[in-house]
């Protein structure tokens, strides 16, 4: 693992955007071109660092944290600057690094009112720092800090550049998320003090919990607090109401970032923090998470059918799709969580793309009322086809990325993890499968109403309605290509995530075992035990059979 | 132990009873013939047109406060005088410091003209000099009391 970036690559990627921000702060806001250029160069630089990180990433040991930095940060409260990347975070980090420059390109010549590119781009770059930071953090306090950093720029983005109802939407977004993270912070602290751990690092806490420091009851409560924090961010069913408002009012780029990355912070929190650290509680909570997930799937789908606004419809479809992701997570199986991460990536690409399209439609028609739209294929055929393509991807057409998020998630519910009630999850599976049918329904219906037919009279001869522009092509092409690429060869993602997911589940379900052993700091990061379960996973031969095997092992280890 | 307070309590009860009885008796026995003229305050036989304001110089208060200052000083000086032999130099210095601090307030009062009873000297600029009788009367009763003399405040503010 000798490479240039070891030790400082992550720090570089995380904080480079802030350097860009600092430079932009010094330039007067009239020089818009310079701002755009600096922002683009910064985000491309970050993406470049990301590519280097990928190149030097040891794909044979995805279960191991790489590029680890572990330094004292706030000594008094035992918080450390601990960062690292493993297979679970890598796809999401790369997704972030990809989406941000695309957003900057997309908004190049049409910033929403009130234009002010300086402020807008600065916010995007701060967001990038927050998002990458959240994905790389390996310390609860650090994680929380980055998790919160994301909040304000997004708030301002919605509140300043949003639609007519922006104040309501932005405040709702802000308050929901803040309430969630408030309880989350209490959970984190409770976890820290109950375990008596001397560090906030994930692995340290996981070991401490495994060593049996926390009563089962306390674990349940702590998990509940985290559940609220992450669940609101996802958003899961009863807490989802901020999402449609925020999406509808946010500027296009804001919606894209929100859908593509921000929602993943919640699900990522589950797979990275809640489940590995509190495995017992996760098992107890799993049926409830699964229940809310399927309710979200059905509710989101039905909500979509009732929408009259295109952006709102896509927002509700997000609720449904994140339901699939949560269902995968709730199974607590290697298979399910792999599917969930795939679902996150796919949803990020596809829904991000859909929001881009919605933004472009809005710009041309000045409305997103579905009933007033129509004939997109006639007036802007290329855009219409892209729209159709994305709708197909979103409804989970095999061969496109969306399929690999939904289908395995449903499948994994057939055979949930150790201790999770099987019958319940099989029921969930059936319901979730119904959800895919509904998804096909609302997306095709949307496509039919918005893209097919003849253009409505009011827009028939509108000269503003042009086909896809150069900037749009540049910003969309990578997303479209990835949707196809991952759809055809899902191993692009699975290969990276599998080892890490497996490792994150291993200490969870084998509790008691070697975890009690005292490990020194360097070793603490080797969460998984390479010796035991690591082999045989590098080829993607995971299926039901395989999981069963696992379950037996867990059962044997005295769970 | 509380028995020694009994006479006080008895006296208290007696006093209360006496007062109450007097009131009740006068209410019962006195003839009541109220009349406007009788109810009005006496002002040289003229029926007052409005509520009469009660005005007396604020300086009375100041004098009262100066009195309190010295009163307190005496209260502290007395026990010191009784025990000064034992307290020695330490006590002397302490009481001198104390007297100095108390005297300080007297200096402040004098400096601000608290004891000047002659023709009124304008005490600093507690009220803006631009404030005339007309502006005051016109503004009286308006809630925004702080706005008086605003023009001059503006000018000096700008100058700053």
């Amino acid at each position: 693992m000798e490479n240039l970036l070891d030790g400082w690559g992550i720090t570089l990627a995380t904080f480079s955007p802030l350097v860009g921000v600092a430079v932009m702060m010094l330039i007067p806001k009239e020089r818009e071109d310079q701002h755009k250029l600096i922002a683009l160069v910064t985000s491309l630089w970050v993406a470049f660092v990301g590519v280097l990180l990928l190149i030097w990433f040891d794909l044979d040991h995805t279960d191991k944290l790489q590029y680890v930095v572990d330094k004292v940060w706030i000594d008094v409260i035992s918080s450390r600057y601990a960062v690292g990347i493993d297979g679970m975070s890598l796809p999401l980090i790369l997704l972030t690094m990809l989406v941000v420059p695309l957003c900057i390109v997309y908004s190049w010549n049409h910033f929403p009112d009130p234009v002010n590119p300086k402020a807008f781009l600065i916010l995007i770059l701060i967001l990038e720092t927050g998002m990458i930071g959240t994905f790389v953090a390996q310390d609860l306090v650090l994680f929380f800090v980055f998790f919160e950093v994301v909040l304000l720029p997004m708030f301002f983005m919605i509140a300043v550049w949003g639609g007519d109802d922006r104040r309501y939407a932005s405040l709702k977004f802000f308050l929901y998320t803040l309430f969630g993270s408030a309880l989350m912070l209490v959970s984190f602290l409770a976890l820290f003090f109950l375990t008596g751990a001397d560090t906030f690092t994930f692995s340290g806490l996981a070991d401490a919990v495994a060593a049996g420091g926390v009563s089962r009851n306390a674990q349940l409560w702590i998990f509940g607090g985290m559940f609220l924090g992450f669940g609101i961010k996802v958003p899961m069913f009863p807490f989802h109401t901020w999402l449609p408002d925020a999406h509808t009012q946010a500027p296009t780029v804001g919606s894209v970032i929100l859908a593509a990355v921000l929602l993943k912070l919640g699900t990522y929190g589950f797979v990275r923090i809640a489940i590995p650290i509190l495995p017992e509680a996760a098992v107890s909570w799993a049926p409830w998470i699964g229940l809310l997930a399927v309710v979200g799937i059905i509710y989101g789908a039905l909500g979509c059918l009732a929408q009259t606004d295109m952006k709102r419809l896509i927002a509700f479809s997000s609720v449904a799709h994140m339901g699939f992701v949560m269902l995968g997570i709730a199974t607590l199986t290697d298979f399910g969580i792999n599917a969930a991460i795939m679902g996150m990536v796919a949803h990020g690409l596809i829904t991000g793309m859909l929001f881009f399209l919605a933004g472009s439609v809005k710009e041309r028609y000045h409305t997103l009322e579905i009933s007033r739209l129509g004939g997109l294929l006639v007036q802007a055929p290329r855009m219409g086809w892209i729209f159709g393509f994305c709708a197909m991807a979103s409804l989970g057409l095999p061969g496109l990325a969306g399929f690999w998020g939904e289908f395995p998630a449903i499948l994994s519910a057939y055979n949930p993890g150790n201790g999770v009630p099987v019958e319940t999850f099989r029921t969930f599976m059936v319901i979730a499968a119904l959800g895919t049918v509904l998804a096909a329904g609302y997306l095709l219906w949307l496509l039919q109403r918005a893209a097919f037919g003849t253009p409505p009279e009011e827009f028939a001869d509108d000269p503003h309605i042009t086909d896809t522009t150069k900037h749009e092509w540049i910003s969309w092409a990578p997303l479209l290509a990835l949707i196809v690429a991952i759809g055809i060869y899902p191993n692009l993602v699975f290969r990276v995530t599998d080892g890490a997911v497996d490792a994150s589940l291993t200490p969870c379900l084998s509790v008691e075992g070697e975890a009690a052993e005292k490990l020194d700091c360097a070793e603490v990061y080797k969460i998984g035990h390479d010796d035991g379960h690591g082999d045989g996973h590098d080829d993607d031969g995971h299926g039901d059979e395989h999981d069963d095997e696992h379950d037996d092992e867990h059962a044997a280890s005295g769970n | 132990m509380l028995g020694q307070y009994l006479p006080v309590v008895v006296l208290l009860i007696l006093a209360f009873l006496f007062a109450a009885l007097s009131f009740v008796a006068s209410r019962l026995l006195a003839p009541r013939r109220p009349h406007d003229r009788k109810a009005a305050p006496y002002e040289c036989g003229i029926i007052p047109g409005r509520e009469t304001p009660e005005r007396f110089p604020v300086r009375f208060f100041l004098v009262a406060m100066i009195f309190i200052v010295f009163d307190i000083e005496i209260v502290f000086l007395y026990p010191w005088a009784v025990a000064h032999g034992g307290l020695g130099l330490f006590g002397l210095v302490a009481v001198l410091l104390f007297s100095l601090a108390v005297f300080e307030s007297f200096v402040y009062l004098i400096g601000n003209g608290a004891l000047e009873w002659g023709p009124v000297r304008r005490v600093r600029h507690a009220v803006s000099p631009a404030r005339t009788s007309t502006s005051t009367i016109r503004r009286a009763g308006v809630r925004e009391v702080g706005l008086e003399g605003r023009t001059i405040g503006d000018e000096s503010g700008r100058a700053a």
């Binding site: 800090v145 802000f174 308050l175 803040l178 209490v186 602290l189 | 600029h125 009391v145 702080g146």
Partner: protein, 496 residues
């Protein structure tokens, strides 16, 4: 006659009080005797005095750290880390308020010496209060502090709100002082001493058969102190006083009075009555949660920025109480860290408000902040940072402070308290956000928009705001030094 034993005096330890009180009295004398004092002189004198106290704190800190804490004046004044830290905070706030006061007084056309004198005297009271190792001395300090502040509150002669606020403050404050005094009497009755060290000794050595008198005493002490730090339900004076008083004075109330009040509270409750923590900690927890929730929720309903910040200061008091109710060294250290951060935040915020007040100190409606970002971007930026700090956003000192008290509460198994307080914090964040929205998202009034560049920012205010912002950022990015400092400042009782 019998010679009375006179107490030992550690003069170096009393330097801060001496500087402040003698400084105040000297200034008063000179101003009384000299007719026309140049108006920079009182300010300069106050700043120099404040700085002198700060400088004196450095050797004191080293002495205390190296030689350990001790008491002086027959065990009635503590000389420990807590004393020095709070003294330094008070002195720094005095300097800041003095810097703000002169342009304010000139703008408002108010007489110029009394503010500084009262400020120094009240700071002297604050220092006494923070270092009191004896209930009587504590009361003495509290009264010196309070009476000066009552007058300060009324100092804007032409604003009826100033008089109204001062009157309320005075009447309620006197009431609270009475409670406090009665509480002290009961504690004395129960334990046989007013010296905190002896009280603690007595309580740890003996088991009281009937501790109702002690508990009543603690309850009354709590009421009196809770009033001073503006905790719900003893906060009713706060909004009116904050709204009415001259704004620089409000900075002093928020930063200085609160610091002194909490220092005293920690010393009495945690250090001296720590053995009875199981009795007083739950009520304090309730006060904490109530303060945070009420402060946050009611602040949302306000439209006057000063009232908003007043209620938010109530919420902050709640957070500080969260640290107090933990009743251990960690909680206390968290309280001190919070106090330092809050002093920065409050001084900075009210410095901005002082500038924004305009002639007559009246322009504090939320609408007056509309479009400030366009008119005065730097001022708006600084205010943003301070508000974010108050909200507890990461990378500002506020986050470190909140995290500290929260961690202390959770470590003490106060999950519900901590959880509810965090909900309140989320609601409070909404308040600060409203001000931000007003500054950044709304267009200025037509009147304010044409050509005006917003209020002038005098040099003194620039310095104060700049230092406050720098401090908040520094603590947010490098919290270590402050947390270490706070840890060293945990008060210690030195027995007889």
């Amino acid at each position: 006659m019998l010679a009375v034993a006179t107490p030992e005096v550690l003069w170096w330890a009393l330097l801060p009080v001496l500087f402040l009180s003698v400084g105040g009295l000297l200034l008063l004398t000179v101003a009384s005797l000299v007719r026309r004092l140049p108006d920079w002189l009182p300010q300069a004198w106050t700043v120099v005095t404040g700085l002198a106290v700060l400088v004196a704190c450095v050797p004191m800190w080293c002495e205390v750290r190296d030689e350990g804490p001790r008491t002086t004046l027959a065990g009635s004044v503590a000389v420990d880390g807590s004393t020095v830290l709070v003294t330094a905070v008070l002195a720094a706030v005095v300097v800041a308020v003095a810097l703000l006061a002169r342009p304010y007084l000139r703008r408002e056309d108010l007489p110029g010496v009394e503010v500084y004198v009262l400020l120094m005297l009240s700071a002297a009271g604050g220092v006494v209060m923070a270092s009191a190792d004896d209930l009587i001395v504590l009361f003495l300090g509290l009264e010196i502090l309070s009476i000066a502040v009552y007058v300060l509150a009324a100092l804007h002669l032409r604003r009826i709100e100033s008089q109204e606020g001062a009157m309320k403050y005075f009447v309620l404050g006197a009431f609270a002082s009475a409670f406090l005094l009665y509480g002290m009497a009961l504690v004395y009755g129960a334990t046989g001493s007013t010296r905190l060290a002896l009280v603690a000794e007595h309580l740890s050595a003996t088991v009281l058969v009937d501790d109702s008198m002690l508990l009543a005493g603690i309850a009354l002490l709590l009421v009196g102190l809770a009033f001073k730090v503006a905790a719900v339900p003893f906060h009713a004076w706060t909004p009116d006083v904050y709204q009415g008083s001259p704004t620089p004075v409000v900075a002093w109330m928020a930063a200085g009075v609160k610091a002194a009040g909490f220092a005293a509270m920690v010393r009495v409750l945690v250090t001296s009555l720590g053995t009875h923590a199981s009795d007083w900690a739950p009520p304090v927890g309730v006060l904490a949660v109530a303060s945070v929730l009420v402060g946050a929720v009611v602040a949302v309903l306000q439209t006057d920025v000063r009232r908003m910040l007043a209620y938010s200061s109530v919420a902050h008091a709640g957070f500080l109480l969260l640290g107090v109710q933990a009743a251990d060294a960690d909680g206390t250290a968290a309280v001190y860290a919070y106090l330092v951060v809050y002093a920065l935040l409050a001084t900075g915020s009210f410095a901005v408000l002082t500038v924004m007040g305009g002639d007559g100190d009246a322009a504090h409606h939320l609408d007056d902040y509309r479009g400030l970002a366009r008119r005065r971007p730097v001022l708006a930026g600084a205010f943003t940072l301070l508000l974010l700090g108050q909200a507890g956003v990461p990378f500002t000192g506020g986050f470190v402070a909140k995290l500290g008290v929260l961690a202390a509460a959770v470590a003490d198994r106060g999950y519900w308290v901590a959880g509810l307080a965090m909900l309140g914090a989320a609601a409070a964040a909404f308040v600060y956000l409203r001000i931000l929205v007003s500054m950044y998202l709304e267009d200025p009034d037509a009147e304010a928009a044409d050509g005006s560049t917003g209020p002038a920012v005098p040099l003194g205010a620039r310095v104060v705001i700049g230092v406050a912002c720098a401090g908040v950022l520094f603590v947010g990015l490098v919290p270590g030094p402050l947390l270490d400092l706070a840890r060293d400042a945990v008060p210690v009782l030195v027995g007889s």
